[in-house]
């Protein structure tokens, strides 16, 4: 993807985004609501035309070969897109027809994907009787019917309960491992982004960082270990001089900054044999990374309220 720009009238939703995703990777797009994640996905899926720049998906140019791009990708939209009056199976069938899946293969494949998302026993029920998690799983199954090479998932876990979210992540990993799919997903949940192999942090239509979750977090400067000892005043210089690390007093604790906490702890324990009363290790989260990069927090509260409104406005009709 090269220098992608997308304008809505005069509003720049995506401002010159550039990146590559190798085959078989789980790539995450992390950013707050309105960052331009969905817009980017829609451009890559050829639903929107880029105002400037272009991208190559699976070897096909999104400007010149949109039909080939479409045939080779699966897409799960942020908002629901199933036909509620049809059964699970019919939804898959119509998808298979539109993607020209051969009739002989179709049956086998539909059974396979239904099995995978554990909906085989509900396949003859109308989708309107399904829960939110079941719908999401069915949408993922539908996106797979035509053997895509790349699967796009736009906020696949929004509005779902923790167990379902965990299940969906299991499918995502399974798909990468068993079907060799390249997976491109967006999320605004920091904790979930850790499941990706690489993350692009996007804010106001620009990529502000792109790396593995570990590397992104190491930007923050590693882990923080907090200990309390029998005598903090005495111990503090010992830690500073003998172990050569940054440490400071914080209330009743000593806060120590190290790169890898789990490697440092044994050394610390040997050095301060018997003097430690308690110890806490704090790993930096992607929240900290986002805060560091943009000076703002992804406000979970605010975001969730918007999600709820969206789900609500979709259901009220």
């Amino acid at each position: 993807m090269r220098d992608l720009v997308r304008k809505y009238k005069d509003f720049l939703a995506v401002k010159g985004v550039t990146f590559d995703v190798p085959e078989g990777e789980i790539f995450g797009f992390l950013g707050p609501n309105g960052a331009g994640k969905s817009t980017t996905i829609q451009i890559l899926a050829t639903l929107l035309k880029p105002t400037e720049g272009t991208a190559v998906v699976n070897g096909f140019d999104i400007r010149n070969e949109p039909d080939k791009v479409r045939q080779s990708i699966g897409l799960v939209f942020q908002d629901p897109s199933l036909d509620e009056r049809l059964t699970a199976r019919e939804n898959l069938y119509f998808h298979a027809m539109l993607y020209n899946v051969e009739t002989t293969i179709m049956k086998k494949r539909m059974a396979e994907v239904l099995e995978m998302v554990e909906l085989a026993d509900r396949q003859k029920d109308q989708v309107k009787t399904f829960s939110g998690g079941m719908r999401r799983r069915l949408e993922i199954a539908r996106g797979l019917v035509h053997y895509p090479k790349v699967l796009f998932l736009d906020e696949p876990t929004v509005g779902l309960d923790p167990q379902t979210r965990k299940r969906i992540w299991e499918y995502i990993h399974y798909l990468r491992d068993k079907e060799g799919l390249t997976i491109f997903l967006t999320t605004h949940y920091m904790d979930e982004a850790e499941n990706c192999q690489r993350i692009a942090v996007i804010d106001h239509g620009e990529i502000v960082a792109l790396d593995t979750p570990e590397n992104l977090k190491s930007v923050i400067g590693g882990d923080v270990i907090k200990i309390s000892t029998d005598n903090n005043e005495e111990v503090l210089p010992v830690i500073k001089n003998r172990l050569q690390v940054k440490a400071e007093k914080q209330g009743d604790y000593i806060a120590i900054q190290v790169e890898k906490g789990e490697i440092f702890i044994p050394r610390l324990a040997v050095e301060l044999k018997g003097r430690i009363n308690s110890m806490v290790i704090k790993k930096p989260s992607l929240d900290d990374v986002f805060l560091h990069l943009t000076g703002r927090e992804i406000r979970e509260e605010g975001v969730n309220a918007v999600d709820r409104m969206r789900v609500y406005s979709k259901r009220k009709h």
């Binding site: 899926a45 050829t46 639903l47 929107l48 035309k49 949109p66 039909d67 080939k68 479409r70 045939q71 897409l75 939209f77 908002d79 629901p80 897109s81 199933l82 036909d83 509620e84 009056r85 049809l86 019919e90 119509f94 998808h95 027809m97 539109l98 993607y99 020209n100 109308q126 539908r142 979709k314 009709h317």
Partner: protein
């Protein structure tokens, strides 16, 4: 080939959905009955046809108009239902599939036409009730004309729907488009004998030619009925075929617009 498969898929979905909604089926079957019995009998009591010939009732005059009316309402409504498809996201799933956009419009237009024709079939079964006898060939011809009308009007509905944000505009469309199309089509009163300005409006309404085509066919062997036919069948067919082409073209184009 692939496009044909897509047209078939979109059509099949519309028909399946129709079959699944009991209330819609009941409505589709009951509506023509209501039109014919209540509107028809009610109005025939109140109206006398100008130059009414002996042995020809207002109900008989109105029968082709009722056919046109039920097709009009059902097909415009089917076309507009695309607003719901968009609202509930299903349209996105279709639009991201590797099929040409026009095939989606054509499939949708055929789906709406099919539903409208089912309703037409119910009305044709009722023909003997109003004293009209139809031969098998006549019924085939009527079906053909109904199909052309339904196809055009569903396409019209699709075109309008592509500009509509939600179903809130529905009432406006009923009041300012569908009802005028219906009242000016000559379904309720004959074109002859109205004020000249009215006659002009009626001649502009493409549905006038649809209703006239139906009268042409249904009253082919009925001398009294023929008095109320205004144009030749070939003119009628030309106009409605043109209408079908123009509207499906507009509908397909509306689909092709990519934001």
């Amino acid at each position: 080939m692939r496009s044909m498969k897509a047209v078939y898929t979109i059509w099949l979905r519309d028909v399946l959905r129709f079959m699944r909604e009991r209330s819609r089926i009941v409505g589709t079957l009951a509506q023509p009955l209501l039109y014919l019995l209540i509107v028809g009998t009610g109005l025939s009591a109140a109206f006398r046809l100008p130059q009414a010939p002996e042995g020809f009732s207002y109900l008989q005059f109105m029968y082709p108009g009722i056919l046109g009316m039920s097709v009009l309402f059902t097909s415009v409504f089917s076309g507009l239902s695309i607003v719901w498809d968009r609202e509930f996201g299903f349209l996105k799933e279709v639009l991201v599939a590797p099929v040409p956009r026009w095939s989606v419009a054509v499939g949708k237009a055929l789906g709406g036409s099919t539903v409208a024709m089912i309703q037409g079939a119910v009305l044709l079964l009722l023909a003997p009730l109003v004293g009209i006898s139809l031969t098998f060939i006549t019924i085939l011809k009527v079906f053909l004309v109904l199909f052309i009308i339904a196809f055009s009007l569903t396409s019209l509905g699709i075109t309008i729907a592509s500009r509509m944000e939600s179903m809130e505009g529905f009432q406006m469309i009923m009041n300012f488009l569908v009802m005028p199309l219906f009242f000016l089509s000559g379904a309720l009163f004959p074109l002859k004998g109205v004020a000249p300005w009215m006659e002009t409006l009626m001649k502009i309404d493409p549905l006038t030619y649809g209703v006239d085509a139906l009268r042409n066919i249904i009253f082919a062997n009925n001398d009294q009925g023929r008095l109320f036919v205004n144009f030749s069948l070939s003119l009628d067919l030309t106009v409605i075929c043109l209408m079908a082409l123009v509207f499906i073209f507009l509908g397909a184009r509306a689909f092709n617009r990519q934001e």
